[in-house]
């Protein structure tokens, strides 16, 4: 006889409620904003924003990245981070040597509004904005 152990037996009723609650919480946050966030943004209006701490280092219109590769140096508490933008996408090319985990480097390319490249040790953050253009229309 094989003594089968069912993993589910180790969960109490409240464990399952808790897990279901957290899954629901996460999924709602992931999917809820899409309802009203502009999905149909215009590629020409995207702007790359690079911040160091609370200061904005540079704002690059996405259109410019198609003409030539943009390299930006942003200084933080640990040193200089190098940011590369090309062909409608942006990444953190090189984090300072002192950054122990270099999570921002591993994040890789981002190319649309939503994801953020965050370098907590060096306090650099990079994301893509849709420029706040004029309203197309208001309906009551």
């Amino acid at each position: 006889m094989v003594n089968t152990v069912k993993i589910l037996d180790y969960f109490t009723f409240y464990d399952k409620i808790l897990i279901a609650g957290i899954v629901l919480f996460s999924l709602i946050i992931i999917f809820a904003p899409l309802g009203f966030m502009a999905e149909n943004y215009d590629e020409d209006e995207l702007i790359i924003v690079i911040k160091s701490g609370s200061k904005t280092v540079k704002r690059i219109p996405m259109v410019k990245t198609y003409e030539k590769t943009q390299l930006v140096e942003a200084a933080g508490p640990l040193g200089i981070s190098i940011i590369e933008a090309e062909q409608g996408r942006v990444r953190l090319l090189e984090a300072p040597e002192e950054d122990p985990q270099k999570i921002c480097e591993k994040t890789g390319w981002i190319s649309e509004p939503g994801p953020v490249i965050i370098c907590v040790p060096n306090q650099i953050s990079i994301w893509i904005e849709t420029s706040e253009g004029d309203l197309d229309g208001i309906t009551w």
Binding site: I29, I103, V116, V120
Partner: protein, 172 residues
Amino acid sequence: MNKTRKIVIVGLLVSLGLILHFVETMLPMTAIVPGAKLGLANIVSLLGIVFFGFSGGLQIVLLRIILGSLLAGTFMTINFYLSFSGGLLSFLVMYVAYRYASNKFSLIGVSVLGAFFHNTGQIIVAAYVISNSAIFYYLPFLTLLAIPTGIGVGLVSYFTADYLPKEISGGV
């Protein structure tokens, strides 16, 4: 419990936690979501709460975080504050859940709660440090990932606590 015995076991759990912490940093979990990790070191925090209650558990958590950051060379840097805030918040939540709601939650539920609040605490501190709330974008992905890792940590803690001789826990 004998005082010397307690010191020895706390020390053992702390060193176990340090090893788990360093093994964990070798795993490329950040490829999935930036900042994601397994939380293996949470096993010893949980065991600390089970065996020693509040004071012993707190000792294990604090010693592990401080020694871990000293060994990694990140003491008093932002990385230290991140793991400190996450570790402390998840410890407090896990202690309250274990102490006052253990008839409702098993160790799995306690560990999932701990993982959830570890992520939340870290993101709040990180958002404050970089003064950019855009980092909350990653919170739901991290909390979603906290479910499997929390369940895994909870199961491991459950079986470990079950197999260790009763003298270690001293009937706590």
